[in-house]
């Protein structure tokens, strides 16, 4: 996918008098991203952070950050949100998920922002299972199964996750970025998977129920489809041919992939045993692990 990215001077966002045709909400129900049509393309407004004007015909994305927003924050949004949305529009299958490679196969962790995707990916990496992405999981259907494409060798963690999980030298850290997350570059301690690997299983992170054990339950293909629909990247929900194709791609994934729900104790010290339980479960499924 070829795109040209242009970053314009920071300025306060111009008020838009029209209604967005779509919006993303946080887990608390607050809007975080508004979708507008604009000059034959799209305008994505990440509230209080940046506007991204997308010219699909010219394959140009122009970002106007709000004052005080760093280049790193712009890059995070561009790579983790804007590019996946455009890829989805172009017909690729992109899911809100992190992933790690274990014994040559990928374990995908699907969930909304704040559910623990990046923390788990970090914990996998720390345990020696290289991460493939911390969001915007790209899946290619190859033969009968899916292959996961590696993305950015950067993990974005909340400051408390970083402190608890990763005993990294100070130099490897950056200042807290957008949504109070820190940026961790891949390293020998936090390895990144460079090559694509086949998908082993998908785990959908449940809302924490305060449990002390690891609970993994199978999802029927129909239930998996319902979950995946809510965790996929779709730029234009009113573009019916694309919505139809997107639905069919997700249905294919739901049928072919081994999908489960996952809940686990949200305590950092429990993460090694959580990782062991997931690996052990994936192995027991007789997949590529």
């Amino acid at each position: 996918m070829t795109l040209r990215f242009v970053q314009l001077a920071a300025r306060d966002p111009e008020p838009l008098r029209r209604e967005p045709y779509d919006r993303w909400l946080t887990l608390d129900g607050d809007p975080t991203l508004l979708f507008f049509r604009d000059k034959g393309g799209y305008l994505l407004r990440f509230l209080d952070v940046a506007d991204f004007a997308i010219d699909l015909a010219g394959r140009i994305v122009a970002c106007t950050p709000a004052p005080g927003i760093t280049d790193e924050m712009v890059a995070d949004l561009y790579f983790n949100q804007v590019i996946p949305l455009i890829m989805g529009h172009d017909g690729e299958l992109v899911i809100h998920a992190s992933a790690a490679a274990a014994e040559g196969a990928a374990i995908a962790l699907v969930g909304s922002t704040g559910r623990g995707k990046s923390t788990l990916a970090g914990a996998f990496a720390q345990a020696g299972y290289p991460f493939l992405t911390d969001d915007g999981l790209i899946l290619d259907l190859v033969g009968e199964g899916y292959v996961v494409r590696p993305r950015r060798p950067i993990l974005r963690l909340r400051a408390d996750s970083e402190t608890a999980l990763l005993a990294l030298p100070e130099a490897a850290r950056s200042a807290a970025g957008e949504f109070a997350k820190c940026r961790i570059a891949a390293s020998a301690e936090i390895p990144f998977q460079i090559d694509p690997v086949p998908l082993s299983a998908i785990y959908i992170l449940r809302e924490p129920a305060g449990r002390e054990d690891v609970a993994i339950a199978p999802l029927s293909p129909a239930a998996a489809l319902s979950e995946l629909i809510g965790h996929s990247f779709m730029l234009d929900v009113e573009d019916r041919p694309r919505v139809r194709a997107h639905f069919n791609r997700l249905a294919e994934l739901a049928v072919r992939a081994d999908c489960h729900t996952l809940d686990y104790p949200r305590r950092y010290e429990a993460l090694p045993s959580v990782i062991d339980a997931i690996i052990s479960h994936a192995r027991s499924r007789g997949t590529d692990l």
Binding site: V243, R244, F247, N248, V255
Partner: protein, 90 residues
């Protein structure tokens, strides 16, 4: 709605069988619906242009269910499909 009626499926609906169940996507509203195995078979019959009674004939051959129960279920599903805008009475 009577058992001899036919439904016209909305062209805005995409149906997809997923692991024995049928998922419906209404492109007009962006809403998703799920049908169990029997519901999916009824939907398939209606998509083929069968009347509700003809849909019952098909299901009766495949599943162990009384005609009375089947007609009740088919009429109920037809009402729900119409109510949700997924079909109209032909």
């Amino acid at each position: 709605m009577k058992i001899d009626d036919r439904l016209e499926i909305s062209p805005e609906v995409v149906a997809r069988e997923v692991g024995g169940e049928t998922m419906l996507l209404d492109l007009a509203s962006g809403t998703y619906f799920g049908l169990d195995t029997v519901g999916g078979r009824i939907w398939q019959a209606l998509e083929d242009g069968a009347s509700l009674a003809e849909a019952c004939d098909r299901i009766e051959r495949e599943f162990d269910v009384t005609r009375e129960q089947l007609e009740h279920d088919v009429l109920a599903l037809a009402g729900q499909l119409i109510e949700q805008g997924l079909a109209t009475a032909a």
